[in-house]
């Protein structure tokens, strides 16, 4: 130590800490990360090669393909190939964003530099967004450069007159794709304990993205570029959802405290059982405590207290399911404008009760080869349950979208049939009262409830409750879904199936004869 004295200004000299997002901190973090990436030859060399050489290789390939196809007067195929090249030269450098983002938090953790960063006044939002932008910027610029090089070389070589709209579409599409990959990868990086684990989980991101790029390629080859806007819109929604989830689930405690990734099945099963037994408001306490502290299961309490409380807590899920039901009906009704049914296809004015009964006895035509179940209590019940549970399971991976689609589809069919009857001057209200209302009055609420909680199951990953880890939140949402399914949905479906087989046909015959 030298004898020089420390002359540090007093703390009052320091800029005061601002509430909200501190853009200076965010920008400082982004600058450092980008500079660090630019100094890493393992990132710079491959990105540079892909950015500069790959577009030129693609251009040569396009030239060869074009010449070959011209010989057979198939230039249209060549013209489709060139925009695909745009997509490819943009996507490859962008895929590096995944590598950088996956390393963002967990890499720092492995190098022991994370704690010092977490000890700065940077908030969770600044840390998350900083890492996200830093992971995105370099590959994004590389993608833009790659696309520009390819675009210019194609136009310069007079291979193709690149439409400006398509050029912008590909730029925008590459951006939102990159953002999806980065947002998801940063989430992965902030929830794993090693770069190895993060890389293993990366397949959950790269495989769907590769699949999406294939679909986009098909769309381009098909010449339906306008469909790319829809994909872009969907990806943008996903981006927003993932950024929100990333910020919401970012947990500096978990990043520092988690030492190893392991699947503790015993604890998971125990926790699930506790969540299932306990009233909803006890969940945060149950999460912390041992089994003795978990309230006893009471069936009466489930109906009197738990279910109403769960419904109130999941009112947005219920509202979403209700709106989807209404939208499905209206959508089906509206489809009549484009696809009207022939007048004899579904004419209830010539209803024949005997033929109707015979059809029910023999089975609905085509039911053996389609998804429709045989007309029996067990078959209808199992079919409905299978669809609802399957939809809930798939909701986990689709943020609830699949469950909503499975609700939307039958309601669209009902709306379509009602609309078709109305268009033909038949009484559509009578149709609903006869064919839908008897069992639907039980089945539709059951489906609504199941969908509402399936949506929550999908959304819980985006916004887990305070202090819950992603796994605990998922267990809680699953337990809530199972509780509603066991004690409300299944009884309703059973009774609905009974009504559908024994009561609905009677009502139909009664109303139409």
């Amino acid at each position: 130590m030298s004898e020089r004295t420390l002359e540090l200004p007093a703390l009052t000299d320091v800029t005061p800490v601002q509430p909200g997002i501190n853009w200076n901190i965010l920008w400082t973090l982004v600058r450092r990360e980008v500079r660090d990436s630019l100094r890493d030859w393992r990132i710079v060399i491959p990105i540079g090669l892909l950015t500069l050489l790959f577009p030129l290789v693609m251009n040569v390939m396009a030239d060869v393909v074009f010449d070959f196809l011209e010989r057979y007067d198939a230039t249209i195929i060549g013209e489709r190939f060139i925009p695909f090249g745009l997509l490819a030269v943009g996507f490859f450098p962008m895929s590096f964003s995944l590598v950088i983002a996956l390393e963002s938090f967990v890499g720092e953790r492995e190098r022991n530099s994370l704690e010092a960063l977490l000890a700065t006044p940077a908030g969770d939002v600044e840390l998350y967004l900083g890492k996200l932008l830093a992971s995105l910027l370099l590959p994004l610029v590389a993608s833009y450069v790659g696309i520009a090089i390819y675009g210019i070389s194609v136009v310069w070589g007079r291979l193709w007159n690149l439409p400006a709209t398509l050029f912008l579409q590909i730029l925008a599409l590459t951006t939102v794709e990159g953002l999806v990959m980065v947002t998801a990868a940063v989430i992965v990086s902030s929830h794993t304990t090693s770069v190895r684990a993060a890389n293993l989980l990366a397949s959950f991101i790269i495989v769907p993205m590769a699949f999406l790029v294939q679909i986009e390629s098909l769309i381009i080859f098909w010449g339906r570029e306008e469909a790319l806007w829809w994909i872009m819109a969907g990806l943008l929604v996903l981006d927003v959802a993932l950024v929100r989830a990333g910020i919401r689930t970012f947990n500096r405690e978990a990043i520092l405290a988690r030492e190893i990734d392991f699947l503790n099945i015993e604890r998971a099963v125990r926790l699930f059982w506790y969540f299932l037994k306990a009233p909803p408001e006890a969940a945060p306490r149950v999460r912390q405590q041992s089994g003795e502290a978990v309230p006893r299961f009471q069936l009466a309490r489930v109906y009197r207290h738990d279910v109403p409380r769960l419904l109130a807590a999941n009112r947005w899920g219920v509202a979403t399911a209700c709106v989807t039901t209404a939208m499905g009906f209206l959508l089906g009704w509206g489809l009549i404008r484009w696809w009207n049914l022939p007048i004899d296809f579904f004419n209830l004015n010539t209803f024949d009760a005997r033929a109707f009964r015979a059809t029910l006895m023999q089975g609905i035509p085509g039911s053996a080869t389609t998804l429709l179940p045989p007309f029996a209590i067990g078959a209808i019940f199992v079919h409905n349950l299978r669809v609802l549970v399957g939809g809930a399971f798939l909701s986990l991976f689709s943020f609830g979208v699949v469950a909503l689609l499975l609700l939307l589809a039958p309601m669209t069919i009902v709306g379509f049939l009602a609309g078709a009857l109305a268009a033909q001057g038949q009484n559509w209200l009578q149709f609903l009262a006869a064919f839908i209302l008897p069992h639907g009055s039980l089945e539709i609420p059951a489906v609504l409830l199941s969908t509402a909680f399936a949506v929550r199951l999908g959304a819980i990953m985006l916004a887990p409750p305070q202090d819950f880890s992603a796994g605990e939140a998922l267990l809680l949402a699953t337990a809530d879904y199972v509780k509603v399914l066991l004690f409300v949905v299944i009884p309703l479906l059973l009774i609905a199936a009974l009504v559908e087989v024994y009561v609905t046909p009677l009502v139909v015959v009664w109303l139409y004869t």
Binding site: A10, V17, N24, E115, A119, T120, A257
Partner: protein, 307 residues
């Protein structure tokens, strides 16, 4: 005035309780050592105090700011030296300090000025053109200390500052901490190095399995855990009936033909009486010394490692 105050601080990770109902304070200009074995909860306590972790229950104040409600402010008031320096290896010292200074809201001029002063202070100025990845372990730890000091924090939290260092590196870092202590910095030092705690700390807090076992100055702890000081008299020749001779002055602990040891709370009165009695009986005293009482004995006894 207490700069750091922890009240009933508890931190649980799932079913594991890392810190349980810990209360203490650190006064301005004081060095408090948090002493305990690996896994005792020292790092978790520091992370709670540095507003990196949110306590499960209880609270902590740093310069009057609650770590739960004003975490950013607290992180601004605190300088944290982590157990592993964890520097960004591709950066150079000035660039590295510039980054952390900017994260703390310092303007460019202040960042540069402080970085230069501190690098010179810690003998790192000569290495300013090297990448941090090329630094030795001792240099890295000193660099991390510079980082922690850069924004002139109100309080320094040093988590195992010498744990991963060789003796020379550890010495350098200890010297640096001693220097900071002389300059009146408030420091909370986490360590399991007893010599370090004894050398650097004003007060000790011994923590084990997330709970505080003992607290006080080193002398207070020694007195509390080991009892009154023990003195040993060595005579030139054997003296017959040595214990009986001193029986009414002190209670002898152990003795031999030419030596005796005893415990006393009032050595200023007892020791002259012992000397007089022995001399009157014809004994020639070679030495009268207080038996060394090491912090290690206190620590091991508290940990239950020795009876």
């Amino acid at each position: 005035m207490a700069v750091v105050e922890a009240v009933g601080l508890t931190k649980r990770f799932g079913t594991i309780t890392a810190v349980e109902n810990v209360s203490f304070h650190v006064r301005e200009g004081e060095v408090l050592a948090l002493l305990g074995p690996n896994g005792a909860g020292k790092t978790t306590t520091v992370r709670c105090l540095a507003a990196i972790l949110r306590p499960t229950s209880g609270y902590a104040l740093v310069a009057g700011h609650d770590t739960r409600t004003a975490p950013r402010r607290v992180r601004h008031l605190v300088g944290l030296l982590t157990e592993f320096p964890g520097l960004y290896g591709r950066m150079k010292p000035l660039e590295y300090l510039d980054f952390f200074g900017a994260m703390q809201g310092l303007d460019a001029h202040t960042r540069r000025a402080r970085a230069e002063t501190l690098l010179k202070q810690f003998n790192l100025w000569h290495a300013r053109r090297q990448r941090l990845g090329q630094f030795s372990k001792g240099m890295r730890q000193k660099m991390a200390l510079v980082r922690a000091l850069l924004h002139a924090p109100k309080v320094l939290f040093l988590d195992e500052p010498t744990a991963a260092l060789d003796p020379e590196g550890a010495y350098q870092v200890r010297q640096a901490i001693a220097d900071l202590r002389r300059r009146g910095h408030t420091i909370l030092l986490c360590t399991h190095n007893l010599v370090e705690a004894e050398t650097l700390a004003d007060r000790l807090l011994i923590i084990h399995r997330g709970r505080i076992l003992a607290r006080g100055t080193i002398e207070e702890l020694k007195a509390h855990v080991l009892g009154d000081p023990v003195f040993r008299v060595q005579l030139a020749q054997p003296l017959e009936g040595l214990p009986d001779l001193l029986g009414d002055v002190v209670s002898p602990l152990e003795w031999g033909p030419d030596w005796i040891s005893y415990r006393t709370r009032t050595p200023t009165q007892t020791n002259p009486a012992v000397i007089s009695r022995l001399q009157a009986a014809g004994g020639h005293i070679v030495t009268l010394v207080e038996e060394p009482r090491r912090l290690e004995d206190v620590y091991l006894r508290l940990m239950g490692a020795v009876p």
